[in-house]
């Protein structure tokens, strides 16, 4: 059975269990996405967008849509205890193996006008307002189509005009040993901020190392005029997991989006992060950090569409590669005709710590307007010998000196995180990964 037949059969089997089965527009969206998937199948490396990332391993695994059985809730509960930002800090929604788990969630008190629920529930109770956000977009990857076919649950956050959610919204996606093994988990999130609304959302993926599974997530963000959204993504999937995710935003006049994506887990990760400026004066910041080793493969594709004048974008991605890991960075900045006074800056820096690590970087500018300032830069290298020498000359051991320099390199991205609890969590992870990291922490 090839991938297309497998997916068709899987859909036929699981369609009835998917939420919103009785909503005609949703069924249409799923069908059209299914048709798109069946027409093209999984991409191969001849596809420019997938030149450096082969998904043959995903195809070979023939994952099945996650079933509706419950995973190990006790294990999930203990994870929630470890991973929640802390009592009273934020609004926690927990999803276990792709389904909302109300018993573990602590939504807390949201201000009036902020509506937070599971998307599955929203499909059942009030699907009419959602249609515009769920059409299959053929500009998005084939995995986005696959997500539309199988999406079962996820978070829905709607902010009415002017609503400000002070505390971060923490979306925790847990893949359990039994519930996730051999499955595609298809979380689907929707964040809609009306005019002037503000919120911070943390999308957090964790999994167990036991068996392979695929998380195929898709998050759509809509920021109305002068809205301000901050999105953090922390990916700590299991060691055998595959993680493919899209974050696609549309921004209206004067809106601000800040996206911060950290990749630590999974054997194969592909992130497609994009934002489109549909009106003047938008601003976007895309930051990213990937710390990988072993045989991990991480691919970050970003795209910023400057579709209107006076837009500003900043992009800052850094990677540290150890073992036989491989990283791919593709940063596309498109300045459309008429998007004058655009300011776009992009930087991608990579540190190779091992002889067998590999990096493929492709910053990309496409510019169709003249009154713009666009720059990009990419660097790839190992630790600077002079810096190492400086530290060694001052009696710092080689291991310690290397750790210090790697820490400094990664810290430049970590320090951009504004949620203190998340920042210290990442610092902690960073220290734990570095040899003699605890000693550096003591110094810091």
């Amino acid at each position: 059975m090839n991938a297309r037949e497998h997916t068709l059969a899987d859909y036929a089997r699981s369609a009835v269990t998917l939420p919103g089965a009785g909503v005609p527009w949703l069924a249409r969206a799923r069908r059209s996405a299914l048709e798109r998937f069946v027409a093209s199948g999984y991409p191969d490396t001849h596809d420019e967008e997938w030149k450096y990332t082969s998904v043959a391993a995903i195809e070979k695994q023939a994952f099945r849509a996650a079933s509706h059985r419950d995973g190990d809730l006790a294990a999930a509960a203990s994870l929630v205890d470890q991973l929640a930002l802390g009592p009273g800090a934020g609004h926690l929604l927990v999803f276990v193996d792709g389904r909302h788990c109300p018993s573990l969630s602590v939504p807390g008190r949201l201000p009036a006008g902020a509506h937070m629920t599971s998307i599955g529930e929203e499909f059942e109770t009030a699907p009419e307002s959602l249609e515009a956000y769920f059409a299959d977009d053929d500009q998005e990857t084939i995995f986005a189509a696959l997500n539309t076919v199988f999406m079962a649950d996820g978070a829905y956050l709607h902010l009415a005009r002017g609503v400000v959610v002070e505390q971060p919204v923490h979306l925790l996606f847990i893949a359990t040993q039994d519930g996730a093994a051999g499955a595609i988990i298809s979380p689907r999130n929707l964040i809609v901020a009306e005019e002037g609304a503000q919120a911070t959302v943390i999308e957090h993926y964790v999994g167990t190392d036991g068996a392979p599974y695929l998380t195929n997530a898709l998050t759509r963000i809509s920021a109305a005029a002068n809205a301000s959204l901050t999105h953090y993504k922390l990916q700590q999937e299991g060691a055998q997991a595959f993680h493919v995710a899209g974050i696609h935003a549309r921004q209206a006049q004067g809106s601000r989006l800040s996206s911060h994506s950290t990749t630590l887990g999974a054997v194969l990760t592909r992130n497609d992060i994009s934002t489109a400026f549909t009106a003047p004066g938008c601003e976007a910041t895309l930051d990213g950090l990937y710390l990988v080793g072993g045989r991990q493969h991480v691919d970050n594709h970003t795209r910023i569409d400057h579709g209107a004048p006076h837009g500003t974008s900043h992009e800052f991605y850094r990677g540290v590669l150890d073992g036989r890991s491989r990283a791919v960075f593709n940063g596309k900045v498109l300045v459309h005709p008429g998007a004058q006074k655009t300011n776009a800056h992009q930087a991608n820096h990579n540190l190779l710590l091992s002889r067998d690590a590999e990096i493929d970087s492709k910053p990309q500018l496409e510019i169709y307007a003249d009154d713009v300032k666009c720059t990009h830069g990419a660097t790839i290298g190992q630790l600077d010998d002079n810096q190492l020498f400086y530290l060694r000359a001052r009696g710092v051991s080689e291991t310690m000196a290397r750790s210090l320099l790697v820490h400094a390199f990664a810290h430049d991205v970590v320090e951009r995180i504004r949620v203190a609890a998340l920042r210290s969590r990442l610092e902690q992870i960073l220290f734990s990964r570095l040899p003699q990291g605890e000693r550096i922490r003591a110094l810091a």
């Binding site: 005709p337 190779l352 492709k362 496409e366 003249d370 300032k373 990009h376 830069g377 290298g381």
Partner: protein
């Protein structure tokens, strides 16, 4: 005939915009491409058997390939069966008889560029009198070069006189199966230049198409092969700043450079073929494969190019840095005005230890011009201590033009250091204001600023070329300001 074929026939048959006669001379092979055409070309040129075999292999492989589609360049489909693949040089009667018959627009351009009168005639394809026959000029230089053991002449001559060298190096850098246009070129190339510099010899002069015998009418499928043996040095100039007369719409040339131990090759190009009119009608498609291999330790290849002509330029002069400590360089200025499209850049493949490469690319877009930098820096596992620095700057003049950057960076060795920088901007109002305040006209100011923007590349050109290139920039930019 299909609609596209019709359209092509129309394009092909259209009167040459500069008013040249385009009657087909008698000594041609029939339109179209088949194994028979390839055999015929080879037979006409009295080639040895190995050449025919190689051409046929290339042709058979070409049949299995399809035209690449990944470029940002857009152009109507080319009908490969509607091209005359071999045409003997034109007789004197077919040419314009004097400069009076030449399009005044072209003459004005020569005037601005300060091209000497005699050269104007040659460039415009005027039947040249015996005194200024390039053959005689060429022969003088050829004797001098022969004394040093330098072989420099047409490809056809080289195939006949030095078949062993040709057989050894032909296709060793750009194999016939390399890409669609390289395969086509290998099958049907008509002529080109061949150059061999023996060990330890420093070529005393800039070798250039100016002095080259058979330089004219080499046709649209040109092939150049330059070999610098151990410790040799050569500087080679291709093209010239004045617009060249040319009837062929598709140009698919191949240039191969081989540098052995500690040899150095400096290859400079100034390309100013007919770019088509203001609305983008006509103009040359310049689809070229250029590649050099630093085969020996410490060898050095540098490419310098100034691209202002052609409707579409599509080329990536590249270096394979195989020898340890070898160096590759690429310096480019590409200007697109009106409806021109340029997709150019470089590939640097680092294989040897401590190999170094530099890429400096300056793109200027004006009018509706489309300018793309596309480059690859690849550091293989074996390339210990490799170093690359790339810089791509784009300058935009006018709000209808476009500039793109597609750098690919692939690193498989942690000791490598790779840096890439790109910027895109336009000429600042304050810069213009500053110049105007001091009594410099807008047009002059733009030309000055553009020349400053390109200076880094121009300084790599041989001196007389650099001066011409500067003038060329101002002429090519005319009408793009204000």
């Amino acid at each position: 005939m299909t609609a596209t074929a019709n359209r092509l026939a129309e394009l092909m048959d259209r009167e040459y915009p500069h008013g040249f006669v385009s009657d087909v001379a008698a000594d041609t092979v029939p339109r179209g491409l088949s194994e028979e055409t390839v055999r015929l070309i080879s037979a006409r040129k009295n080639e040895p058997a190995f050449m025919l075999e190689w051409r046929l292999k290339a042709f058979r492989h070409w049949l299995t390939m399809s035209e690449p589609k990944w470029s940002t360049a857009r152009y109507p489909a080319v009908d490969y069966q509607d091209i005359i693949y071999y045409s003997a040089p034109k007789s004197m009667q077919d040419r314009p008889q004097s400069l009076a018959d030449v399009d005044p627009e072209l003459l004005r351009t020569y005037e601005k560029l300060g091209v000497p009168l005699k050269e104007r005639e040659m460039l415009a394809g005027v039947a040249i009198d015996a005194v200024f026959d390039s053959v005689s000029v060429g022969t003088t230089f050829k004797d001098k070069l022969a004394e040093l053991g330098i072989i420099f002449g047409s490809f056809s001559d080289a195939v006949r006189e030095h078949p062993d060298l040709v057989q050894q190096y032909l296709g060793s850098v750009v194999p016939y199966a390399d890409n669609f246009f390289a395969a086509l070129n290998a099958a049907v190339f008509s002529d080109g230049s061949f150059c061999y510099i023996p060990p330890g010899v420093r070529c005393p002069m800039e070798l250039s198409t100016y002095f080259r015998i058979n330089a004219r009418d080499t046709g649209q499928f040109e092939r150049t092969l330059i070999i610098a043996d151990a410790g040799a040095y050569v500087s080679y100039l291709e093209g010239c700043t004045a617009p060249m007369r040319d009837e062929n719409q598709l140009h698919a040339a191949v240039v191969e450079l081989v540098a052995l131990d500690h040899a150095r090759i400096k290859y400079s190009t100034v390309q100013n073929w007919y770019p088509g009119d203001k609305d983008g009608k006509g103009g040359i498609y310049n689809f070229v494969t250029k590649r050099g291999e630093c085969r020996g330790a410490g060898s050095h290849i540098s490419w310098t190019q100034v691209e202002t002509g052609s409707a579409i330029t599509w080329k990536y002069p590249s270096c394979i840095l195989r020898g340890d400590d070898s160096i590759g360089e690429f310096h480019s200025v590409a200007l697109t005005n009106n409806r021109q499209q340029a997709d150019t850049g470089s590939k640097m493949i680092h294989i040897g230890r401590n190999t170094k490469s530099t890429i400096v690319s300056k793109g200027i877009s004006a009018g509706h011009g489309q300018n793309a930098y596309r480059g690859l820096v690849k550091i293989l596992k074996s390339a210990e201590g490799a170093r690359n620095y790339s810089q791509c700057d784009s300058l935009l003049l006018g709000d209808q033009c476009a500039a793109h950057t597609f750098p690919y960076i692939e690193v498989k060795n942690p000791t490598a250091r790779v840096e890439h920088e790109a910027s895109t901007s336009r000429i600042g109002e304050d810069q213009l204001f500053y110049c105007q305040q001091r009594g410099i006209s807008v047009e002059d100011a733009v030309s000055m600023i553009v020349n400053g923007f390109c200076k880094e590349v121009f300084k790599e050109l041989p001196m007389e070329f650099a001066v011409e290139a500067q003038k060329l920039m101002s002429v090519s930019l005319e009408g793009s300001v204000g």
